[in-house]
């Protein structure tokens, strides 16, 4: 398919990328392109400039620190799924990355692209909220840190503003267990509903696909009945679509929350 006319730039540093984005209000950062190129084909997005982030080494790495993991925004799903430090520090990230789409998409798709596109069916937004990740957003005035639970603003909308760039994600060291459960369209397909859970003393459960942004529920207790009633009390109003009516999604939210909570509690 022929894309609309667009310009292209290949910066070699974050500063250069920011300069390009600041100078072009209709510019877009191009990460793995597994969403953006397709929405450009459909003319849903028509940026005038693509700022290709694939040649900025500082966005590529996974670092283990005393606090946990530092993920560059351009870390691919394949990289996340195969990096030893991720398996050691926060294996849920590797497990979830390995169930996104297919080999080709995992080789190219990035963590930063997944969260910045913020499609409500994406896997990583609920996971990153559950584990208490912090997003680093660079802009003209420096870097600001935004907790994951404030990062996801609306459908396809995040805290990243015009001229800004998500550069990295900090994931704290694991304290207790983590969990993730989903019902998908085919194996490793798009999520119809999903839930992530993390125990750090208390239990946090985060539901995906049921609202514009991930829904965080702090659980008073980890037993299945409490989890189910906390989800019921949240009075979710999920959308209906061809894959699931709202009532079924609401039902799945409770089931998946319980499964994710069970995994996080080490009983899965």
């Amino acid at each position: 398919m022929l894309l609309a006319s667009v310009e292209y730039a290949r910066p070699r540093s974050i500063e250069e990328a920011l300069t390009l984005l600041a100078a072009n209000p209709n510019g877009r950062a191009l990460a793995g392109g597994q969403t953006l190129v397709n929405v450009m084909k459909a003319r849903i997005a028509a940026p005038e400039l693509l700022v290709d982030l694939n040649h900025i080494p500082e966005l590529r790495g996974i670092r283990e620190t005393d606090e946990g993991l530092e993920l560059g925004a351009m870390v691919t799903y394949t990289q996340l799924a195969r990096t030893e430090e991720v398996h050691r520090e926060r294996p849920i990230l590797a497990d979830v990355a390995a169930q996104i789409a297919d080999v080709q998409v995992r080789n190219r798709g990035t963590v930063g692209g997944n969260v910045c596109s913020n499609d409500p069916t994406n896997h990583l937004p609920p996971v990153l909220v559950a584990v208490g990740a912090t997003m680093a957003i660079a802009g003209a005035s420096g870097v600001r840190l935004v907790p994951a639970e404030e990062f996801f603003v609306g459908v396809y909308l995040t805290a990243v503003g015009p001229g800004e760039l998500l550069t990295g994600i900090s994931v704290p060291r694991r304290q207790g267990g983590d969990g993730f459960a989903s019902v998908t369209i085919g194996r490793d397909g798009t999520c119809i509903a999903n839930a992530a859970a993390s125990r750090n003393g208390s239990l946090r459960v985060v539901l995906g696909c049921v609202a514009a942004t991930p829904v965080l529920i702090e659980m008073p207790s980890a037993d299945e009945e409490s989890v189910r009633s906390a989800v019921a009390a949240a009075e979710l109003d999920p959308p209906s679509d061809i894959h699931a009516p709202a009532a079924y999604r609401r039902q799945l939210a409770g089931v998946l929350a319980a499964r994710a909570a069970r995994q996080a509690s080490g009983a899965a």
């Binding site: 398919m1 022929l2 894309l3 609309a4 006319s5 667009v6 310009e7 292209y8 730039a9 290949r10 910066p11 070699r12 250069e16 300069t19 390009l20 072009n24 392109g33 597994q34 190129v37 397709n38 084909k41 400039l49 693509l50 290709d52 694939n54 789409a101 297919d102 080999v103 080709q104 998409v105 080789n107 190219r108 194996r187 490793d188």
Partner: protein, 160 residues
Amino acid sequence: MSEPVSRKTISVEVNGTTYEREVEARRLLVHYIRDDLDLTGTHVGCDTGNCGACSVIVDGTLLKSCMMLAIQADGASIETVEGLGADGELNPLQQAFGEHHALQCGYCTPGMLMSAKALLDENPEPTEGEIRRAIQGNICRCTGYVNIVEAIAAAAEASP
């Protein structure tokens, strides 16, 4: 500082041959391969990133060439289905696809072969489950996949 461009002469190595062509920034890699280089083995199936018929290997990484811009491949080394056999000889994967009737219409086959190649390059002795996961991004509407999986397993066994 890299200045924005709307077209550029790019240098890309494909199956060992280096090509220099001017491309528009909006050109998809798959169209560059098929229409600019006339390497029509790589197919356009769905053009939405789902079917995998356009799969190629770029700098060692299997990807769908309808979701990458040609200009992004400037300086890259690409393997396409044309690079599998040499001098009119089929390679073990191609041979096995023929022997196991792993294709009917053949439309998905180039992408299927590249996914299989990427798998075997990395994992020469895959299990059936690993083979099935490796071709998850390649849709075949004729065969039901059984013969494709058998062909890849046979090629793995046949390879030294």
